[in-house]
């Protein structure tokens, strides 16, 4: 883990074998660090009480509970990568959860898949509103989504009134989705993992995904280069909205009830999960894998604290410490890499071509941009 190999691999093509390169990337990645913390947490908690992992509901809850936050964190990652943020996901989630219940009550004959799609479509529509306002209004996403957070939450509560949708209002088959599992893995977790894999593949490989990173690294440069910045930012918000919509449906299936508190405050958890997972808040770097691991970590901490004998009232404090720790760690790593890049430029091993000037920009810290 010395600084020299990273310097050489950045200034000229690596002569290491592909396997070795992949291995080294993984070993150096932020995702692995979060994963190690997660595994340690699970191990320690299980050592304290074996039912945490091996109990009949332990294994299921471990996988099932984070599925909603994973969906939100994946969408949030796509938005944050473009140097924006989406604070309205919690309200969107509440709206679609209520829509799900409402559709089952008002249209009893509707197939489940149609209801799920309706939830996703509604989330996407709300994402379109955010996207249009942010991309074409030239207004920071923080302000716009703060506004739409109020608006969507107000719309949800006005629509729902004092209504509360109960388990009996939703068909048995739909609620079973919340408890069923395939090969020991809960269905809802599989849904979240499939979404994670699709979005992760898209961001890593597809042209559109790479452009999101380019836009987040330097929006002006991306525009000058000819990327359709507005359309891509719009896409990120629609994705985030659609996934928040899906999360709303998932929450209805998981809990069997919809109350007025669905999704309140979860937007900051989603941003927190992404930040813990190494997604830089100023765009251009990070992966959905990291964000998903961050989401798993947040939810698992919540469940393991009482087992470890710590009152779960402390959970939020631990989460806060984790977020602060993660961004401090990020800064340390960035500084180290910057020094390595400068060293490679000043007195590189073969005085190779200087490192491109991107090294000074906000996004350069990430392996994503340089890779």
């Amino acid at each position: 883990m010395s600084t020299t190999p990273s310097a050489t691999s950045l200034s000229r093509p690596s002569d290491a074998s592909p396997t070795a390169r992949v291995l080294r990337d993984v070993l150096r990645s932020r995702e692995l660090a979060v994963a190690v913390v997660l595994v340690l947490l699970i191990a320690v908690t299980t050592a304290k009480s074996s039912s945490f992992l091996f109990g009949s509901t332990g294994w299921r809850d471990l996988l099932l509970t984070p599925s909603m936050l994973v969906l939100l964190a994946v969408g949030q990652t796509a938005v944050i990568i473009t140097r924006n943020v989406d604070l309205s996901v919690g309200s969107t989630m509440g709206l679609t959860a209520y829509l799900t219940g409402r559709l089952f009550i008002d249209q009893p004959g509707l197939p489940i898949i149609v209801v799920v799609l309706a939830g996703i479509a509604m989330g996407a529509a709300l994402g379109v509103i955010n996207g249009v306002l942010v991309a074409w209004g030239r207004v920071p996403a923080l302000v716009i989504t703060l506004g739409t957070m109020y608006i969507y939450r107000g719309a949800f509560l006005t629509w729902a009134g004092s209504d509360r949708i109960n388990a009996g209002d939703m068909p048995r088959a739909f609620r079973d989705l919340g408890t069923d599992s395939i090969l020991g893995i809960p269905v809802l977790t599989i849904v979240a993992l499939v979404v994670l894999a699709l979005v992760g593949y898209y961001l890593r490989t597809a042209r559109g995904g790479r452009e999101l990173y380019a836009i987040g690294s330097d929006p002006d440069a991306a525009g000058l280069y000819g990327l359709s910045v507005n359309r891509r930012i719009m896409f990120a918000f629609v994705l985030s909205g659609a996934l928040a919509g899906l999360a709303g449906v998932v929450s209805a299936a998981r809990f069997g009830t919809v109350s007025s508190t669905v999704g309140s405050g979860i937007e900051l958890e989603a941003v927190g999960a992404a930040v813990i997972g190494g997604v830089a808040i100023f765009g251009g770097s990070g992966t959905v894998w990291g964000a998903a691991l961050g989401a798993f970590l947040l939810v698992t901490i919540n469940r393991s604290l009482p087992v470890l004998g710590i009152s779960d009232f402390w959970q939020q404090a631990v989460v806060g410490l984790l977020i602060v720790g993660a961004i401090v760690l990020d800064r340390v790593l960035v500084n180290r890499q910057e020094r390595a890049l400068i060293a490679a430029r000043e007195h590189g091993p073969d005085a190779g071509p200087p490192v491109p000037a991107t090294s000074g920009s906000a996004g350069s810290d990430s392996q994503e941009v340089v890779r």
Partner: protein, 364 residues
């Protein structure tokens, strides 16, 4: 003397080089965001007084001020922080933490109430100093740092007190928090510390070199550094002030509700930020003024109160406030678009083209 030496000729030259200052002073005032917010506030008050039942009543203004007091107070340091281009999402959590600390120091540790209040304000300042250290000296993005401390401070408050609460405060103090300055007048006591702080922050922001530095940092922090502004120290001081004010609000909230608990003021940070932005402060930094912000807070307060009196639910009110926030920030970019169109048409006229076609061109 100095006015005499300014020949009309030099004035004209300046007008050409600084187009934004080409308007007379009164026009600049009338066209400013602050003026628009204040005008909107007056319109809302006039409308509510004539159209909304009971808005005219003796209690309305009292509750309006009392309910807006926390936001009014927190908005003062938040304005300065946002003008530097940073943000503090943790203020409401600091309110919760200092409320819990205040209650526990008084009820559990047996500190005299005055000393407990003093320590609570200090705890708030320490919370702010932690934010300020990470943002200003470590150089971390304030939005990420304060999302972390938002959870951290609230989490410590919840960890300390759980769902319990502390309620036994001396009546002389809780009464003081609810009292009016003058009997039968709708001005609660909290307005006195608010006015003192507002004047202090106003002087700091608009009439001191420290304040000029705040604007410079927001416009371009690197340039500010070169002109001798201590960027890190300025930001750190502002975060400490925000924490200390949050500590004071924690005590006020505790006394006025009579309850110290961890959930005090949950979500208030977003209301504070919404009010500050509504008041004309640019989220990009470098722009905004306290009179506009105070009008922004009161505007939200008036709308809330008038709609409540009209029998609307809190949900509808949230929709209205959210829309107002979105519209107000969109208006800036729409105005900018219009300005560009006007500027383009003027430029086109001087270079011989018709203004009409150029205006269309720049809009497309």
């Amino acid at each position: 003397m100095s006015t005499l030496t300014q020949t009309p000729d030099s004035g004209a030259r300046e007008q050409r080089s600084y187009p934004s200052y080409s308007r007379p002073f009164w026009q600049r005032v009338v066209l400013s965001r602050e003026f628009a917010v204040i005008a909107l506030l007056i319109a809302a008050i006039v409308y509510s007084r004539s159209e909304v039942d009971y808005f005219d009543g003796p209690q309305t203004m009292y509750y309006l001020f009392r309910d807006s007091a926390s936001i009014l107070l927190l908005a003062l340091p938040m304005t300065a922080i946002i003008i530097t281009g940073e943000i503090d999402l943790s203020v409401a959590s600091t309110v919760g933490l200092t409320s819990v600390a205040f209650g526990m120091l008084h009820a559990d540790a047996g500190l005299s109430i005055g000393l407990a209040a003093l320590v609570a304000v200090l705890i708030g300042a320490v919370c702010g100093a932690f934010n300020g250290f990470l943002v200003a000296y470590v150089g971390l993005p304030s939005i990420a740092v304060t999302i972390g401390t938002l959870a951290l401070y609230r989490g410590i408050a919840a960890g300390l007190l759980g769902t319990e609460s502390r309620t036994d405060f001396p009546e002389s103090w809780t009464d003081l928090a609810k009292e009016r300055i003058v009997e039968d007048q709708p001005y609660p006591m909290i307005l006195i510390p608010f006015l003192v702080l507002a004047i202090a922050f106003g002087l700091l922001l608009h009439f001191s070199s420290f304040g000029r530095g705040i604007y410079e940092i927001g416009l371009n922090d690197e340039a500010a550094r070169f002109t001798g502004v201590d960027v890190a120290r300025t930001k750190a001081v502002l975060f400490v002030l925000a924490g200390a004010v949050a500590g004071f609000v924690g005590i006020y909230t505790t006394l006025v509700t009579g309850v110290a608990r961890a959930e005090n003021s949950v979500g208030l940070e977003l209301q504070v930020i919404a009010a500050v932005l509504l008041g004309g402060v640019s989220i990009f930094g470098g722009r905004g003024a306290l009179p506009g912000v105070i009008a922004g807070v009161l505007l939200i307060g008036v709308i809330q109160r008038a709609m409540l009196l009209n029998g609307e639910t809190v949900n509808i009110i949230n929709i209205v406030i959210g829309s107002l926030l979105v519209l107000s920030v969109m208006s800036t970019s729409l105005l900018a678009l219009a300005h560009r169109a006007v500027a383009a048409s003027k430029g086109a006229r001087s270079s011989g083209r018709t203004s009409d076609s150029a205006g269309k061109r720049s809009l497309s």
